[in-house]
């Protein structure tokens, strides 16, 4: 079996996620795209672990998932607090740090 297909799939998923982060306006959909990118990285890690015949990549993927869970919790808390003050979940409305 050929692991390069998985690597190309992970690159494609990462690209889709990156484009989504750039073009979407709703903060929650941006979050979903970030999850896609993290998953693409996990897929690459697991493929490398398989190619090298060691389990380290799988353990790193496991750790990435834990960090992603923490990141989702914090991110959604921030989105909720922005929504509470501005009544909007659009990333274009949270522009006070611009310029």
């Amino acid at each position: 079996m050929d692991p390069s297909y998985y690597i190309v799939l992970s690159a494609a998923l990462f690209t889709i996620g990156a484009v989504g982060v750039l073009i979407r306006r709703n903060a929650i959909v941006v979050f979903m795209c970030i999850e896609l990118m993290l998953n693409a990285a996990n897929l690459a890690l697991i493929t490398f672990s398989r190619m090298n015949g060691s389990l380290d990549g799988q353990i790193m993927a496991f750790f990435v998932m834990v960090v992603a869970a923490a990141e989702v919790v914090i991110g959604l808390a921030i989105i909720m607090s922005i929504f509470r003050t501005r009544r909007s979940a659009s990333v274009d409305d949270a522009n006070l740090l611009k310029y």
Partner: protein, 164 residues
Amino acid sequence: MTVTDILLLALGAVAAGSALRVVTTTHIVRAGLWLVVALGAMAACYLVLTAELVAWVQVLIYVGAVVVLLLFATMLTRAPIGPSPELDRARFPAALIGLGSGGGLAALFIFGYRWGKAELAAPGTAGVLGKEIFSGWVLPFEVLSILLLAALVGAIVVSRGERS
């Protein structure tokens, strides 16, 4: 074509297609539901790659917890139920950056790893992974538990809002 190749092509097509739907759909709730399909297909990919424990953890954490959290957040931010056409920004620069990064990544990976064959590795079951974590990865594991605690406390502090 072996069975794993066919499975891989099918699952890869499902994952990439539903990921595309996450990025292109105009319904926010549907984006979340397509995300479930994409994450499930990737969990199946992990199973084909013999990463058993990671696949089940993926189903538990991502499909179970993260997507539910995201759907709750869509409800709490009063996202529109129907299609919302003003969901996207200008596409051209994003498409350019995305194509550049994706093409670069794919070229780098293919250049680095060629098109080699890999042996079927021993499955990453809970027992094997647990032994590995608690022999060589104890310190990162403990640091992660501190990170989770910090995230928990931080989420409570951030979402509590104004102090009365």
